[in-house]
Symmetry: C2
Subunit: 212 residues, 2 copies
DNA sequence: TAATCTCTGTGATAACATTCACAGCGTTAA
DNA sequence: TTAACGCTGTGAATGTTATCACAGAGATTA
């Protein structure tokens, strides 16, 4: 089984490689990709090895083929549908960011408990009242959910999504969701990240080349 | 030196503990906190050990004291100022989320290249033109920056912030920023996270208790 | 042709993170 | 008073992730 970290890096590589291809590049060496991705050449080679693609010692990795290999590994056979719950500031930003912009993931429905938001189209995505989650998730064959509601509502929302048959959640609420065994949850906690930055920024100020 | 993962978990513990305290709880055992944080009891104990706090085998950890210890470890002596660059959909969501809501981190200035946004107050935070980064970061003693601009502009923004003396960056752009040695960067890549969810959600559908 | 160069693929190793497992110790119960 | 309990703190073991370092191979040069 492939590691969670590797999957994350492959996703990053892919976007970097797409930019290169758009710039007219044909191929790339592991150390170049490593520099762009902020890793080491060995790690890039291992990651690429993991998906079964092989480069050439002379020309490095062929951009087009490598992109195809990554896509073949990461993506589902057809587009996966996504539901977003919580059309507040964050939810709207996510809609603006995702709707119609991803080649294989499609946010096809948004939900909010506020009836004012229901039945409107926001950033190109239709909004529904929260009660309709189960019906619409099933109807539209939605497998993934984004939880962008305040912390107190997050668990209830997760329950609803899981009951409706979602297989993975992206959670922005600052707590850990309890979900059925087979549902994958990725937590994206902005406050935690900012606090980490605050902490290590402070560390860096003192630890001037303390060669430990 | 304490691990990056541990710092992240401490940040999460803190918010969970604050909720408990608000509910009138007095103390907690490692296995209870572990359940809430989605970890193991041993890990909670190790994390707490790392910051030098000790609980009692009988009553567990005292909420108030533990919170004080975590705060003492994670927080700076006084409030740290933060600058946000990029007042698009995401930037505005972050302002709404942070401004005036964090006890020790304060977003005191926002910047955008769009002159229409400059000199307005958004969600309680004054916006400035991008050119003013250096002056205002110095003037307001800002140590942390949030990069919420589109990918093509991210590196230039990071350069400006670093030159102005920022010590840590929270980066939302889907690429790795090049920064001076001593600047800490935390990347929060929403697309990567959603792609991870998509991938592992798919995995979970098949890997039905394959013992190994 | 032979020597050299630079890169990949990967076994071996090192660094890091988590979990196990148990001694030690107040507390409670008999 | 003594035994049993349930928790913490932590050394040791395990598991996971990243790096090292080098054999192998096409290309280039002499």
């Amino acid at each position: 089984m492939i590691s969670e970290r590797t999957i994350g890096r492959l996703s990053l590589y892919r976007r970097l490689l797409r930019d290169l291809l758009a710039d007219g590049e044909k191929s790339i060496f592991s150390h170049q990709l490593a520099a762009m991705a902020g890793g080491t050449a060995a790690q890039v080679r291992r990651d690429i090895m993991a998906i079964g693609y092989s480069g050439s010692p002379v020309h490095g990795y062929d951009l087009e083929q490598l992109l195809k290999s990554i896509g073949h590994y990461l993506d589902a056979a057809q587009t996966q549908n996504v539901a977003l719950v919580g059309v507040g500031n964050l939810g709207r930003a996510l809609l603006a960011y995702f709707v119609g912009r991803h080649p294989t993931l499609s946010v096809v429905a948004a939900f909010d408990s506020d009836p004012v938001k229901a039945n409107r189209v926001i950033h190109g995505c239709r909004c529904y009242p929260l009660e309709d989650v189960k019906a619409i998730v099933r109807e539209r064959d939605i497998r993934l959910g984004i939880v962008a509601v305040p912390a107190p509502e997050a668990q209830a929302v997760a329950n609803a999504l899981c009951q409706a048959g979602v297989k993975g959640l992206l959670n922005f609420a600052p707590l850990r969701l309890w979900v059925p065994e087979h549902v994958y949850v990725e937590n994206l906690d902005v406050t935690m990240s900012l606090e980490k930055v605050a902490f290590f920024a402070r560390q860096g100020e003192f630890e001037r080349d303390t060669t430990e």
